[in-house]
């Protein structure tokens, strides 16, 4: 048995029963990291000593009745604030920035005995779909190192897929958990907006950002979301979803579940191999007793421009604080205040961040606000309405996660428009604030993972997890591990 191939819950059980100690598990993961992360570059910071120290402490505190994930090591995306530990957001502007406080989700995983192994690489300020825009270099896909792991939570996805940790916390603004989960063969969940606190998540687009788990299977996702969810007095946008126990309520009985397949998500631009894998998912669900229905949501056609207008507008404001005055990078040369701002931000931000700041500033400017920002808001409302209509006739929607499998490094940067368009299936859930899950459903001709997405109504996490759990009872795709590791 290779420890690093267990699921988080399996490891948690092994720890609880005394078969594995927390330091053993932590040591095993740290060894994987030291062996392979030089080439993968999934972590910006590795907390070797702190993690071992914490593992020893937690081991001493082991007793019956603890969290099912007590002692299980994890990775945190490096846009989640960690007290006393660098939080860079993959940007030169925050290189060396050490927050004085922990994000709410970080507090929560620590409270239940999580061992944080390191901070996962990401696209700069979570802006990108490949983890290539990081100031700390690109992350590679453990399935095939010439490929990207997806983004922006690419470091976390690559790390969990490579066995560096048993789960990770990422953030998803337009697909940043689900898409890298798809490219790396993981199960990832973006919760309903407001379900998980954003306090301490460095904002990209506040009205769309949501923290969620990247795991090896649906049961792990349920366990992690049980920990993360809940109203937070420090985040006014949080709501109480009254989920009960997602893990304890998990069932593979999906008889009678109405699964909708939106025609708009199976059309032009979709790789036929991906389409076929996702259709196979539908068959499996049908075999388990689900009812398949075709639905049409024409509003989905407008999501990409609306998303980039809204996300960039908020980003242009959220990123204004990185001005060199208070913390982080400041340009060395300047003659006055304006130059200090200009030089700091010109030298500190990478190309993609600058592009979005400029776009966002433009769409909010006098004279353009109505034409772009307001129009994008209207589209967002229409998408919500369209999805609500769909959920009147089905319980979950099934789509691909992306039109293609993981592209080669450098490809997307050469054709950013193609990259933006590839967010087509993931963005609607963010615009509508709905939960969506990504799960592996096989590989393409080149052996790269293909992801299927399940989207649910508001607070429909349990449905999504049950559906994925049922699927994973029938299939073994979630158990496949990248080359370099042996199957179980």
């Amino acid at each position: 048995m290779n420890l690093t191939h267990l699921t988080a819950l399996e490891l948690g059980r092994a720890i609880a029963s005394g078969d594995v100690t927390i330091p053993q598990a932590t040591q095993a993961a740290l060894e994987e990291i030291s062996q392979r992360d030089k080439s993968l570059n999934s972590c910006i910071t590795v907390l070797t000593e702190q993690a071992m120290e914490r593992a020893e402490t937690l081991q001493k505190g082991l007793k019956p009745g603890l969290s099912p994930l007590y002692g299980v090591p994890l990775l945190l995306k490096d846009n989640l604030c960690t007290q006393g530990i660098k939080t860079t957001c993959g940007s030169k502007l925050l290189e060396g920035y050490v927050p004085p406080y922990d994000a709410t989700v970080v507090e929560k995983v620590q409270r239940v005995g999580g061992v944080c192994l390191g901070k996962g690489n990401l696209d700069e300020f979570a802006m990108g779909s490949t983890t290539e825009t990081s100031h700390f270099g690109p992350t590679r896909n453990p399935w095939e190192e010439s490929r990207v792991p997806g983004g922006s939570s690419g470091g976390c996805a690559a790390g969990v897929a490579a066995g560096f940790a048993w789960y990770a916390l990422g953030s998803d603004t337009g697909g940043s958990i689900r898409q890298p989960a798809g490219y790396c063969g993981l199960t990832g969940l973006k919760p309903t907006y407001g379900t998980v606190s954003r306090y301490g998540l460095v904002a990209y687009a506040s009205s769309l950002d949501q923290v969620g788990p990247l795991c090896r299977d649906a049961a792990d996702c349920a366990a992690v979301l049980d920990i993360l969810q809940g109203k937070d007095s420090r985040d006014s946008t949080t709501v109480d979803g009254n989920y009960g126990g997602l893990l304890s309520s998990l069932t593979s009985d999906i008889r009678g579940l109405r699964v909708g397949l939106p025609v708009e998500c199976f059309g032009e631009g979709l790789d036929p191999q991906v389409a076929q894998r996702v259709q196979e998912v539908a068959k499996v669900l049908q075999h388990r007793g689900a009812i398949l229905t075709e639905v049409s949501i024409p509003e989905l056609k407008q999501v990409i421009p609306a998303y980039y207008v809204l996300a960039s507008a908020e980003a242009s404001s959220n990123l204004a604080r990185y001005d060199g005055v208070k913390y982080g990078f400041r340009a060395e040369e300047y003659k006055n205040l304006t130059q200090m701002y200009e030089n700091t931000r010109s030298q500190g931000f990478g190309k993609e961040a600058k592009l979005r700041i400029l776009l966002g500033t433009f769409v909010l400017s006098a004279g353009y606000y109505e034409a772009y920002y307001k129009k994008a808001l209207a589209v967002k409302e229409q998408v919500k309405v369209g999805l609500e209509r769909a959920f009147a006739t089905c319980d979950v929607l099934l789509t691909p996660v992306t039109p293609n499998t993981a592209p080669k490094l450098g490809e997307s940067l050469a054709d950013p428009m193609k990259m933006y368009l590839s967010d087509l299936y993931t963005v609607p859930a963010n615009l509508a604030g709905l939960p969506a899950l990504s799960m592996p459903c096989g590989v393409d001709g080149e052996g790269l993972p293909v992801g299927a997405q399940l989207m649910g109504p508001r607070f429909g996490e349990q449905l999504l997890l049950n559906t994925a759990y049922a699927y994973q009872q029938e299939t073994d795709y979630h158990k496949c591990v990248p080359r370099g590791g042996e199957g179980r």
Binding site: N79, L80, C81, T87, C89, L94, Y97, P99, P100, Y101, A103, R198, Y199, G200, L201, V202, A203, A205, S206, S207, S233, R234, D235, S236, T237, A313, E314, S316, S317, L319, A320, R321, D323, V325, K326, Y327, L337, Y341, T361, L364, S365, A366, Y369, Y373
Partner: protein
């Protein structure tokens, strides 16, 4: 040509909530730099605002006191601009759906429309060190809650402006939502001003004046700026729409930035804060519990206590004084006497100590007792004033002070008689002078008697006894 001045005001009111608008940090004034900040008000990455409900309550109170409609669903927006005192790079304010709209107040015979009242956060403070040339930031003020009260362009004279601000300050103080101190910056006012020929309906091009630190400065700035604009127009030139700074020393306004240079604030809805939803019950509850405001009190005092107008004005000049007065009366002090003590001794003692009425150390109970001793004849008025001074700062026990200092008024007529007789014996010359018609000599004899009794006798009694003894000599 005759010109008319047209003005509208934008007034920033610093609210006296204990904590800031979006975090739990203290708002107290004068703390060590950067000692009252946290990740939220310093705009650290990942921090999020949480609205302080007290700010909404205070805003609604002010709105109701200025006759406004309260917006059932109001929202916050971000006002984006770069400046080192603004740690997030944007100010959380309200543009599209402010808390209150469409109010009106009557001042000095004019009706002033209130366009809107919105909530927002204050910025920090910058200190420029002239020696090193460095600029230092103090973020203590970041996130201190502000209300911005915007009027319609309904002012025509500087007097109306000052009267409005005085009224506004009084209402804020009576509502208990702000100390309204212009000197400390808790009341800041920008004046939008244009001029037009009398009789014309359309508005002229306006300028906005900032940096007005006192009522006097406001009146002077209006005077200067209106003359400047009139002079420009009479020369056939045009007024440029711009922001102007008033230089208090020179008494002139200077251009800060023109309309072309005006910032584009790129307002958009604040995604981190949900809308502020106020139920009718909530608004009604606040309306029903609004305190009695100054002008209502003045009317009531005149009617109920028959106080002269001047007394009403003085006693209600600060809510703490009015409260003090009402408690005095409740303790049995005759209203006029209470008012006299407040206007005389109390205000005098406050002013020599530079204390605001809120910090009044003496309690109504103590003063009521003192007044009672005087009216019972146990203490004469002059001694009472000395006792007042002695117990003012510590709210000391009046009876204890009087007895330990043996200040009780001498009521013993026999003792007074004996003393007067001795004084007459010792001052034959004065007695002769009085007989010779010198009125002054009488006063001298009264004084000598009072002195012999250490000032504790009732002067009336002394006079009466002295007169009868002199008559009988």
């Amino acid at each position: 040509m005759n010109w008319e001045i047209v003005m509208g005001l934008e007034t920033h009111v610093e609210l006296s909530t204990e904590s800031k608008i979006f975090c739990g940090c203290s708002t107290s004034f004068g703390a060590a730099p950067n000692s009252q900040c946290c990740p939220v008000c310093m705009g650290l990455p990942g921090a999020l605002p949480v609205l302080n409900e007290k700010v909404v309550e205070y805003g609604v109170k002010v709105g109701l006191a200025l006759g406004c409609a309260i917006t059932p669903v109001s929202r916050f927006d971000r006002k984006n601009y770069f400046y080192p005192d603004l740690p997030k790079g944007y100010q959380i304010s309200q543009l599209y759906a402010p808390l209150c709209t469409a109010g009106r107040v009557e001042v000095g015979g004019a009706t002033i429309g209130i366009h809107e009242i919105h909530m927002e956060e204050d910025a920090g403070k910058l200190y420029h060190d002239p020696q090193s040339g460095e600029t230092l930031c103090d973020f203590n003020r970041c996130g201190v809650p502000l209300l911005e009260i915007v009027t319609e362009p309904d002012f025509r004279t500087p007097d109306q402006v000052v009267a409005y601000l005085e009224l506004l300050r009084e209402r804020l103080q009576y509502l208990g939502v702000s100390d309204g101190k212009m000197e400390e910056g808790s009341l800041r006012c920008d004046v939008n001003l244009s001029v037009r020929p009398v009789g014309r309906d359309t508005l002229g091009t306006r300028t906005e004046m900032k940096n007005l630190g006192s009522f006097k400065a406001i009146a002077r700035a209006i005077q200067y700026e209106s003359q400047r604009q009139i002079a420009l127009l009479e020369r056939g030139e045009r007024v440029v729409q711009e922001t102007r700074r008033f230089d208090e020393e020179r008494g002139e306004t200077f251009s800060m930035r023109s309309k072309e240079e005006a910032r584009d604030y790129r307002y958009f809805p604040e995604p981190d804060l949900p809308p502020v939803v106020l139920s009718q019950e909530y608004v009604h509850h606040i309306r029903d519990n609004l305190p009695e405001l100054g002008e209502v009190k003045r009317k009531r005092y005149a009617q109920q206590y028959q106080l002269p107008e001047y007394d009403c004005q003085m006693v209600t000049s600060h809510p703490a004084l009015a409260r003090f007065f009402e408690e005095l009366v409740e303790l049995g002090t005759p209203p006029k006497q209470g008012a006299n003590w407040i206007m005389g001794e109390v205000l005098g003692a406050l002013s020599t100590r530079s204390l605001s009425p809120q910090r009044l150390p003496i309690t109504p109970k103590t003063l009521a007792r003192l007044i009672q001793l005087v009216s019972e004849g146990k203490l004469n008025r002059n001694t009472a004033v000395k006792v007042f001074e002695a117990v003012f700062d510590t709210d000391g026990d009046v009876d204890e002070y009087v007895s330990s200092h043996h200040l009780e008024q001498v009521l013993d007529v026999e003792l007074v008689g004996n003393t007067v007789a001795r004084v007459l014996e010792e001052n034959p010359q004065s007695v002769a002078d009085w007989r010779g018609g010198k009125e002054k000599a009488f006063g001298f004899l009264v004084g000598q008697t009072m002195r012999a009794l250490q000032g504790k006798a009732d002067p009336q009694t002394v006079r009466r006894v002295l007169t009868s003894l002199l008559d009988n000599m």
